[in-house]
């Protein structure tokens, strides 16, 4: 049952083909002075994904380095970070009009009268947009408020047709959640020692997106209102983070969870997610009595600054490091941190001041008089909670307990290819178990999972090392039949790998045909045959035998194993039997 649920969860995620066929959307945002290098809208998707993967690899390396280098200043100063994440909800319609949401349609083809703020037009809350928002909030264990309401946040900008954004300021629909980071949520080897780390989520609110501005210097601003009022959720964490690496892992995990519960259109690298971070430092061990500032009930903090509009996990991590170092340097030099808004450009070494406290916008929040409060019934919440897709943490547990994987492999599987690899793994394992008539309740089931995991992660993994993952390259049923041949001892493991490589390269022959054509059928040597072959080899190389017996160079046995396989026809010698035979024939070391 569980296995099935888990599978369905990921099937659901991957059955949204449009996510995979769209060009990238990197957007310039309102109030955004600093932004990511604007990738071209026609950047091929695969290329962008690869870049993102490379970036992540780099980020991982950077993280490790930062961790290893112990900076004495970091012993003295403690960093505190809170994150606000804006994510585009996966909905058919806009938040306040029945206009369809769209990703890359021709400009200004998806906008209603209200979306472009025509005189006399009024908002129509699309209650269906609540569903993915609720799923997200439930995934973060939030309390769903039976009553929430919408407020106007005022600021002037040409991409904001009404002159205000409709958001939930006074009464958000979800509060008091949390997210837990486990060791498997961090890049290999970089998990902090205090895992699992629990980060509080203050609230989740719904709000409108803005229009897209395309600037054509020197003085033309083109506006595309297709994106106006696309529903967003803003997830606000408490300032519970003290490590840039944890902040990055937190953003990454929020992204994964949003994807798992099908709440979001796209990941961060595709412009579907943006983060603002607030950063402060304080001296360690200083228990500030009445001093220090307090944010969201967390007290004794230093003056914080806010860094707006970070569009990748790496940007979050790097911007926090840069801002932390800037603040430490400032304070150690006798200065004081000012409450201000700052920006960050990828590749730069420091954050840049955007506006100071005196330049802060007074948003003049006002309840929207045209939009009645939203009442969410408990039965809807219960229904969504019951049918929530299995979350990543639970998936790890299932992979370890039911599928026999190590925690590390489970984490790896989960993090690969946005869950596609995991889905593939479930498919292979379940097919294999059915083929071998092993039920999920069978105690042998984990060994099936372990074998499948090995093939999906290691063997297939090495083939896909330099290529984009695709489940169609070696369809699950092909891999299942290869593993089945091996488990039935019809081919050796070397032959099985060869079969996989052939299929990977696109050989169209079926497995049985391949086995026959390559003469791979396992015709095991008799134990006599093994002994004769082994003895011949041992006799040929007395030096090596001495090295093994007297110097204890056990590894050289492998050379003999290789030779035994090399000198026999394909499919006759199995490595483990050969090694066992060799061990038996080798003279035992004389005890002196």
């Amino acid at each position: 049952m569980l296995a099935n649920n888990t599978r369905n969860a990921f099937v659901a995620v991957s059955k949204r083909p449009y996510v995979w066929s769209i060009p990238l959307r990197f957007q310039k945002r309102a109030l955004q002075t600093a932004s990511q290098p604007p990738a071209q809208d026609d950047t091929p998707f695969r290329k962008a994904l690869k870049d993102a993967a490379k970036q992540q690899k780099k980020a991982t390396r950077g993280g490790n380095k930062a961790k290893k280098a112990s900076d004495p200043r970091l012993e003295k100063w403690e960093l505190t970070v809170g994150i606000e994440i804006h994510a585009e909800l996966n909905t058919a319609r806009k938040l306040f009009s029945s206009a369809a949401t769209s990703i890359s349609e021709s400009p200004n083809t998806h906008a209603s009268l209200f979306d472009v703020a025509f005189p006399g037009s009024q908002p129509h809350f699309q209650k269906e947009t609540l569903i993915p928002a609720l799923r997200a909030a439930l995934a973060f264990d939030c309390t769903i408020q039976p009553r929430s309401s919408f407020d106007r946040k005022h600021y002037f900008y040409q991409d904001q047709p009404n002159g205000y954004q409709i958001t939930q300021y006074y009464e958000p629909f979800a509060t008091d959640g949390h997210i837990t980071l486990h060791a498997h949520d961090f890049p290999a080897g970089s998990a902090p020692e205090d895992c699992p780390i629990k980060i509080g989520i203050k609230q989740v609110q719904m709000e409108q997106d803005t229009a897209k501005t395309v600037q054509q210097p020197p003085s033309t601003h083109l506006l595309d209102f297709n994106r106006v009022s696309h529903p967003l959720i803003e997830i606000i964490t408490l300032p519970h983070i003290h490590d840039p690496l944890v902040a990055a892992a937190c953003v990454r995990k929020i992204q994964t969870i949003l994807k798992t519960v099908d709440a979001c259109t796209a990941g961060m690298e595709m412009g579907g997610l943006r983060a603002d971070v607030n950063v402060s430092i304080r001296e360690r061990g200083q228990t500030t009595g009445g001093e220090g500032l307090s944010y969201s009930g967390v007290t004794g903090l230093g003056q914080r600054t806010e860094i707006k509009n970070l569009a990748s996990v790496k940007a979050v991590e790097d911007a926090i490091i840069a801002e932390r170092d800037r603040q430490i340097q400032l304070v150690e030099g006798g200065g004081a941190v000012e409450g201000e808004t700052r920006g960050w450009t990828v590749g730069s070494k420091t954050t840049k001041r955007l506006r100071g406290k005196e330049g802060e916008i007074d948003y003049r929040y006002m309840p929207d008089p045209d939009i009645s409060p939203v009442f969410i019934a408990q039965d809807l919440v219960d229904h969504l909670r019951t049918n929530l897709p299995v979350l990543p943490d639970r998936v790890v547990d299932v992979l370890v307990e039911k599928y026999g994987l190590s925690v590390k492999d489970a984490g790896t599987l989960l993090s690969f290819d946005s869950g596609d690899r995991l889905e593939y793994f479930f498919e292979v394992t379940n097919q294999l178990a059915r083929t071998r008539l092993i039920k999920p309740s069978d105690p042998k089931f984990p060994t099936i999972g372990k074998a499948a995991g090995n093939w999906v992660l290691m063997e297939l993994g090495s083939l896909f090392k330099d290529e984009e993952w695709s489940a169609d390259r070696v369809p699950p049923e092909i891999l299942v039949s290869i593993i089945q041949q091996l488990l039935e001892k019809r081919v050796t493991s070397r032959s099985a790998k060869k079969l996989l490589a052939e299929k990977f390269e696109g050989d169209e022959r079926d497995i049985d045909q391949l086995i026959e054509d390559y003469n791979m059928q396992l015709r095991p040597l008799s134990s006599e045959g093994y002994r004769n072959l082994a003895q011949t080899l041992l006799d040929e190389k007395p030096d090596m035998v001495r090295d093994i017996v007297e110097k204890g160079q056990e590894k050289k046995i492998k050379w003999f194993v290789g030779q035994m396989m090399a000198r026999s026809p394909e499919g006759t010698v199995e490595a483990d039997v050969a090694e066992k035979t060799l061990q038996e024939l080798l003279p035992t070391k004389k005890v002196e």
Binding site: Q122, G163, D362
Partner: protein, 501 residues
Amino acid sequence: MSLLKHAKQYLANQSKYAHLNAFVSLAEPSKLVSHADVKAERRDVKDKPIAVKDNICTADLKTTASSGILKEFTSPYDATVVKLLRDAGAVVCGKTNMDEFGMGSHSTHSYAGAVTMQRHSAEEEKSAGGSSGGSALAVASAQCWAALGTDTGGSVRLPAAYTGVVGFKPSYGLLSRWGVIAYANSLDTVGILGKGVQDVRAVFDALNAYDSQDPTSVSPSTRARLNNKKKDSLRIGIPLEYNISTLQPAVRQAWMRTLRELHERGHSLHPIRLPATQHALSAYYILAPAEASSNLAKYDGVRYGSRAEGIDGSPESVLFAKTRGQGLGPEVQRRILLGAFTLSAQAMDNYFIQAQKIRRLVQHDFNRVFTTPNPLLDEMPEQSEYQPLVDVIVCPTAPTLAPSLASVEDQDPISAYMNDIFTVPASLAGLPSISVPVRIARDEQITVQPFEETAGIQIIGQYGDDNLVFAAADIVSRISPTSQAQSKAPDVTSWGASISK
């Protein structure tokens, strides 16, 4: 197709009274034709020329809200109320002048110039009231059969009182606001002006329908619960707080006479107290500008509307600072600034929040005095045993008769706001309210006028008691009706001047 009945007379009146500046745009005379093909259930509205205030969207005529920033704006769609009028076979005969975006009490703050009421060649120019002054004066001067206005804090009732016509503000949410340019959404209502109560009622009946496009439109299920009872004898409340010292004697006498006549017709009179009223006006002038500052943020000349000449904006600023500075008039700018201030972080608690509390107290005051419980509330308010219950409240619409435009120009803004003192409470509570002209007896006149002079008497009912308010208005209107109310053809003005063909 034939010309509307009396079409020529209306057209003649329009040119005769063009100098009053009641219209900002007029339909082509050729449009004043009968739509015989329209199967209208309401014969009383069919083929009638109806003027529409210029903040209500029409697809055929410009909709400027009397603002420079919308001076060339034509809406791509008809407001729901306009559509319903057309469906009923009425003809939109023009768009009426108003205070810019509905902000004003004398219809002088207009990009199209002030509305001026001159009832007699010897009379100095008077205020037609605002902000629906153009609609009121168009009806008063028989340039149309009836008119739509909007009433946020008295914008239909005050001009009705000043010009001598009937002006009705329905319960909030009964008439659709889709296509009505928002001034203060939580208070805005579409209102109706006509020469008599029955005309106004006919238009109201044609427009009173649920509209899914207006999120504040009262749902069909709530409409079904609204009171429709009829009463032969009314319990009439006299709010003691409304008898202020600055009440003009002529107005006070008209009020007293009306009450006396009602009593003589078998209705009972009961003094009531509405203590929160004294704070209502200040609360209104915080809440309405606050919402206005928000609602008017959209006018930037980017997607529609006029833009300032030349390049607007700098790399550091938005692209419309100059456009808004030039396109919006001084009173609108004043209220935007007021609203921006009261919503600011430093002032929010002391102004906006306090004003909302007062609004709640005003609603509570009304709920305590009406026999009908408020259908929007689950709980009945506590009744005081010393407080009599009443069916409707009868009081003046405005403290004075129409003031002269000269005196209005000298007024500081605060005094101008005082005109709304009696109309604002019903707006804050969302209650149905109507202003009915009552003729002033010659001996009550301050200076004897060579024309019929009237004062506006206001009738306020419980939320949803619109029918009861109409019933009471009908009684009051029969006490001393204007000549216009009694005439069948558009040949006499509300001040009794007969117009020869």
